[in-house]
Symmetry: D2
Subunit: 340 residues, 4 copies
């Protein structure tokens, strides 16, 4: 069985496991105060070009989103997101569970636009009844988005400008950030993200780690952020588990290097799909490819390949998703292409 | 520097690391549906003598407590705990953050008694104004407790009987359960716990794992528990991280075997302390030892040994905590004893 | 200045004030256990044709919505509403503050349709990832809606059937229920509402009372609903304030009788608007009338009449709302018509 | 039947009803923007000697406590209260429902002391693990307390000094404030309270109003407090209901004048109880009197008098509470005394 169902089906990059073994019996302080956490933070600050940044490590994406968002919002505020945003549909209401509304705005291929954001904010503040409404207290975007699409540097800076005009912090969910940075169609760097956002995270779980996301506050974290991490149940006693992984991933540019494999395999797969005449749902430049399959084809292919159901396309077609990752084997990809 | 500050300063038991490496490139389903999770659950069910139990893996103690408690409670209910319970003082209000009160009851050496519990419940239901009060919806105990003390099987069954009389589920926090089970002064087995409680967890973080707690519902989990785990941000995409660790810990009785080292080293340390005339705060039969030190002694000892400050004892004395673990080295213990 | 800004600008119906005075020095039990509450509940049960109904009195609409919804939902559930629903936009996130998501569906003139509801529920349960999503746990509609529109009895029963098929309780917000019942275009009675919903409320604040909404559970209230009312801060010590008002409103059919004035004045106003060639935003059959005004006209009219800004229509026009009520004076209406 | 069960068994002071009638058909803006609210606020500011104070009207005590506390706290903070505080035991967990812990401290006759508060705060900040604990973010006291006792001006200023030293706002719950101010044993004025606290409320429900509490922020309210009131479901559309009542109560010193009756009747009752040899639980100088009755006496007295059960005293005695109010009739009191 070939496995293209998601980008978290393998374990960790071998460099991480090697480091686990080397450091295993060292006695280290808990709760993220160990030297590997400190070293990883330093390397991340350097990669982001932010010597002053505050960095925290959490275990997974939903946890990170809920913790960061609820830490930023005042109780009368909600978070703006594309209606397709992960926090709006696929996190079991984790943000609302902290007491805050997700304010869904229209999207294009999963992306929010600066103009629709600006329009929403102007309408909100222009409404004389806005004191009876949820105040917009944060803007959430993901890069890559739910559809694997990417913001251009200009689009990101435009959104950032709107946020700053309205004094609303901008949060970028980078669960698959490596794949965004490694995509040749992207002109956004880690430094750009640090410049244009107020908080973002560098996803580990889907990019080479067993678990872990590195939250970066380029300027300053909310006061007592660590206590809020604890309160959310997101503070690991053995913080080394996360520190060691990110220390490895940010040594010798490993994070970006391994991300390239996902892009190269995805590009090859897209080319093959196009050649064979398949319809792609959109031109997604990262590691997720959305294809429309005839239902019959989907069934036979499914006997040998695992992929994700995305949604019904029409009565005889279905949209499915193939995902590659840092660990995708080129030989397995060739086998997949042969079966298409 | 000798390190007796806590029981989570080392990495994982080598058997776990070995298994990480062996399985690393296997492609597995996410969110706890992989074969290692399934195997670990099966082994835990067998160890508990509960073939029907539902088992879930979460990352850490606070997360597990908040998730389990909030999943059990109706919105007008709170959780009863000893006033010294971990959820009441050291989890940054994680339970309250889910909207529920911790109802603190008096304790003896960190333990709740069946009689004080019964008295509280009878008074509550006897109060004609109890509809204006928080209903007791769960009883939380930990074993070992915050002070390293243990319930006897009789004490546990008495508490369980009160809970069942009032139809309130009993939850046992087993963050250090291995050390309780391995203590020669304990007459409680894993099967007893499964019999007398409605939910409990088997702590991994402090007993050989890098992270992870195994939540066991001997009869039945609350409906859609998985969704509530997700909502809390506690569902790892790579569930294998937890499954592999618990599969290793529950193979060949490893969990109990490695727990014995913590007890043996703690016993030896207690004996040495008594011989040298130190005052122990209480007779704690597990891996945490609370000793009263002269402040001067505390200072000089602190130059070579890390231990925990517990609380001021009097103007010239301080209570400190030494903790041993599955990984404590007997030679380092001898060195500590020499320094006392 | 003429006042057509809303339907809560006057005090209470004189029958209510009279009863306040008559009963003022009677010594009564608190928290809704007094004889006026009991009498009002009995009269409401009779009016609804539900001898078994449980009735509770709360102070206002947002409070009632948040209390009823949070009492019904399990923590992994959200409430479905039209995207224009009051709870979704104009209650400052009160539902989310209790930890639950509002799942907004498309609407037509403020109304939810049985087919879009059914489609949403079928898609939800058909999605293999729905365990990562917010479960639909209640359906919220209002009657009249935000736009003053009404469900037909057939539309209501269709929605009810979908809810029952999926075992999801149906909640009808009747903040302006009197005006819906009194509208000649409506074929829905109080008994129909009691038959087709699981909980609804009869609005007092906007229909003759100083404050107060009567929540009716035709079958059964959630367990310990009173405690949840208290927990929300919605339980008045002097419950008589609400009991006396609803007792008066449900004596001699007063509630429906006084509602008719709002409809008659609104009908006359609509007719005048049509005659004078104004464009109505939609054909709203209750006491709220949405009209498109030229900006210049809006300005001059605003010098003598208070009305609500609704939204920008185009660069030279604005949609405004006129509201009538149980207390609208026909002479003032004539004066308004003269000024149009 | 004589009625001494509580201080909210009558309706409103006649001056309030009179004003309801006089103003009933005036068309007024909603949500607390009407002229009666504005006038009442102005009078309250004058009575408090705080021309800059921000004043808000809410419906009842639990609602006010939950709204004020949750508006003041950051999400990692809890509120300190005497363990006997109303918010800790008798509000159905309303504070916890907003996500915040009540940190209960020891009390003397229902009162918190500056020294125990200071000790708690010093211990908290001295604990190196305090980042894993709930931060103290507000201090809650009530005046009179749950036991009807009063702070002296010195005690209040001492508590205030500790709060200011630690930069923690002080909140005074004045549900029965009139009775505290009218007590001859009190040396605290409304101006003192405004000087020493950061927020307090003047209770109406128990002192002459049908409902309503006036929240006073002597310096400044939290930003967007009105939106948080709305979010809690505590914002009445017809704000006049509260404005008119407080406008009446703060005209010609009515609030304090009518409070005196509760004190005079309570004093007379206490004197009679002492003369007849009853044991008073404590020397409570306001309108609540806690008496130890023989169970047999309690039973026979209960045939003619309503009073509150407080708690079991011993096997043959019970503590009960008699309450007087602004409306207690001296003749009924004489009748009660006769029956004792």
């Amino acid at each position: 069985m070939l496995y293209f169902e998601n980008d978290y089906c393998e374990g960790a990059h071998p460099a991480i496991l090697k480091k686990f073994i080397e450091t295993n019996m060292e006695k280290l302080p808990g709760y993220g105060m160990d030297k590997y956490c400190l070293s990883a933070k330093e390397k991340i600050r350097a990669a982001c070009g932010c010597p002053e940044a505050e960095v925290y490590f959490l275990s997974g994406g939903t946890q990170t989103n809920a913790t960061v968002i609820a830490a930023a919002l005042k109780r009368y505020e909600g978070v703006i997101a594309a209606s397709t945003g992960h926090i709006n549909g696929h996190e079991a209401g984790a943000v609302e569970y902290t007491g805050h509304k997700v304010l869904g705005l229209p999207h294009t291929d999963g992306k929010l636009s600066a103009s629709s954001l600006e329009n929403f904010l102007e309408t909100f503040y222009g409404d004389e009844n806005h004191e009876h409404m949820v105040f917009p207290g944060m803007v959430y975007i993901s890069h890559p988005t739910e559809y694997g699409t990417l913001y251009s540097c200009r689009e990101l800076s435009d959104i950032s400008n709107v946020c700053r005009r309205f004094q609303i912090p901008l949060f970028l969910d980078g669960a698959r950030l490596g794949y965004g940075l490694a995509s040749p169609s992207s002109d956004i760097t880690l430094q750009d993200i640090a410049r244009y956002t107020d908080v973002f995270y560098i996803g580990g779980t889907k990019v080479g780690a067993l678990c872990g996301e590195a939250v970066v506050f380029p300027k300053k974290a909310p006061e007592h952020f660590l206590t809020m991490v604890k309160q959310q149940g997101a503070l690991l006693a053995k913080g080394r588990l996360l520190g060691i992984q990110f220390d490895a991933l940010f040594t010798d540019n490993l994070y970006l290097e391994i991300s390239k494999n996902a892009i190269e395999t995805a590009e090859k797969l897209k080319e093959a799909l196009r050649e064979k005449g398949y319809r792609l749902l959109m031109d997604s430049p990262t590691n997720q490819i959305f294809v429309v399959l005839e239902n019959e084809k989907m069934k036979t292919l499914g006997e040998n390949v695992k992929f994700s159901f995305w949604e019904k396309y029409d009565d005889s077609h279905t949209t499915v998703r193939f995902a590659t990752s840092w660990a995708t084997d080129m030989k397995e990809l060739d086998e997949l292409i042969r079966l298409l």
